[in-house]
């Protein structure tokens, strides 16, 4: 059913720390592995092991250079991009079949791959590029927030979190209920000034991004002052020191 739930009991989502992300792509690879590798058989990509592999990744890590003006060192910011599980997602309401839906209990936006007709309209409606079309399956695919992990009773409790969050070596990804103002993720967002992507589009993303912390400015770019060469007249030195100077100057 593509009508959106008026409210969701919880707002599960991710908080991504752009300050600590080092752009290693471990989250993207772990995501691909959990969702398409292993027990599900060979990768359902086009030309998966060839020259031009083409397949669905729910998570893509961009890298940007931020030029902060003269005298300040430019910053490299690694930017993981995935579904933001919006509160009012256009991708759900445009779906003609009811395959796309937003869960009332936790706000996760999902695609029922048994109902999807592969018309691709939802991918056109999403400004965040969260949805990719799976050529092999003929249906649209997207981040599930690892719905098959986070409630999975057969996993250890510590493993009941999205694969990307678990894989991150710098703990730049946090998972939790952003609808609860007292949750760890909500406090993190409040402390660090977490922000929405494209807030003016009006889709109310649940995922938040933490901005890079302020950098030390000024001296980074200024060239280190060259050590002034002291004038030395070797001829004025005693013979031993003159010999030492000659040896050391070689």
């Amino acid at each position: 059913m593509t009508a959106l739930p008026p409210t969701t009991a919880r707002k599960l989502g991710l908080v991504i720390d752009l300050d600590t992300c080092v752009g290693c792509h471990a989250c993207a690879v772990a995501c691909k592995q959990w969702n398409e590798g292993g027990s599900f058989g060979p990768l359902p990509d086009a030309d998966p092991y060839g020259k031009e592999p083409l397949g669905v990744w729910f998570n893509r890590v961009h890298t940007y250079e931020v030029d902060r003006g003269a005298g300040k060192a430019p910053m490299a910011v690694h930017f993981p991009r995935s579904c933001l599980h919006c509160e009012t997602p256009a991708c759900v309401t445009v779906c003609p079949t009811g395959a796309s839906y937003k869960r009332a209990e936790d706000g996760i936006v999902l695609v029922d791959e048994a109902k999807c007709i592969g018309c691709k309209l939802c991918s056109w409606a999403c400004p965040y590029g969260a949805r990719e079309y799976g050529q092999a399956r003929g249906v649209m695919q997207k981040c599930t927030l690892c719905v098959d992990r986070i409630y999975n009773q057969s996993l250890d409790e510590g493993d009941r979190q999205p694969a990307c969050v678990q894989a991150c070596p710098t703990r730049a990804r946090h998972f939790g209920d952003l609808g609860d103002p007292h949750s760890a993720v909500s406090r993190l967002v409040a402390d660090r000034g977490g922000y929405d992507l494209g807030p003016d589009l009006g889709f109310k993303p649940v995922n938040k991004y933490l901005p890079p912390r302020p950098r030390r400015d000024g001296p980074d770019l200024a060239p280190a002052p060259a050590e002034a060469e002291e004038a030395l007249d070797p001829a004025a030195l005693p013979p031993i020191l003159r010999w030492l100077d000659r040896v050391l100057s070689r």
Binding site: L4, L54, R60, D67, R81, A90, P96, T97, C119, G198
Partner: protein, 314 residues
Amino acid sequence: MHPAFSVIAFTTLSGAGYGLLFLLGLAYARAPLPLSREFALVLIGVASALVIAGLSSSVLHLGQPLRAWRALSQWRTSWLSREGVAAIASLIPVAVLAVAVWHGEFGPVARASAVAISALALLTVFCTARIYTSLRAVPAWTDRAVLPAYLMIGLWSGAHIGWALLAPTGIGLGRAPAIAMVVTGLAIGALKLGYWRRLSTGLLPDAGDVTGLGRLGSVRALEAPHTEANYLTREMGFMLARRHRARLRPIALVLLVAVPLACVGWVSWRGPGIGAPLLAAAAALLGAVVERWLFFAEARHVVMAYYGAPAHAP
């Protein structure tokens, strides 16, 4: 945006079919056309065939065509679903009118179905246009000219096909229809010129805007997430049309508007013939295809800003 053949075929063929159905509905709501029943059925049949050809091509482009029936279920929220429902519903009064034409009975049922044909034809093309105008991720399509252009180009190409089909019967272009044609043609030209002018001045968000990093400084995409193309860059990052738009836009306007208008003028001056309406219909349909190809291929999707697309169209 990637201009998929199926979507262009659907919107142009079905648009023309619904335009013709709209006009036939208007005509039969007043009085039956002075035609043999066989020829009247040919008219209705051609219009329906255009609609069905367009619908079929749009179904065939789906990843899972056999599940297409599911697309009729979400009319409460989805313009695509509403379009499907309206498209199929419009074929019911068409069948009723076809039976009435065959039996030569033009009672209240036939007239009511003629009115329903016009209303549903208009509604279907309206829904088609709303699919695109409601996509905030493709700002060009939210332009105010998109909806009227869809409706008028459908009507325009349908009218020319109807004119060409009627030409051999000796039913020429009357004075009022000819004036309506000229007004519609000029209006389409004005709509498209205005759309293209606003398209060239419109700004899209850049990498700094979409990532929220713009507040720290000017943002440049340094490294893409992947070395090869992916679904997004193929589907949303289509650039060919913007490179050749200076040539394609005049071609679209000449075929879609200028040639048909010249044909209308020629017939008004030299009297009815068969050649001019045929040329006008062919040019209008071909022009509609070029216009629709540009409509898709020129439009830029916001997501490409993550890949470093500039705020200005290149």
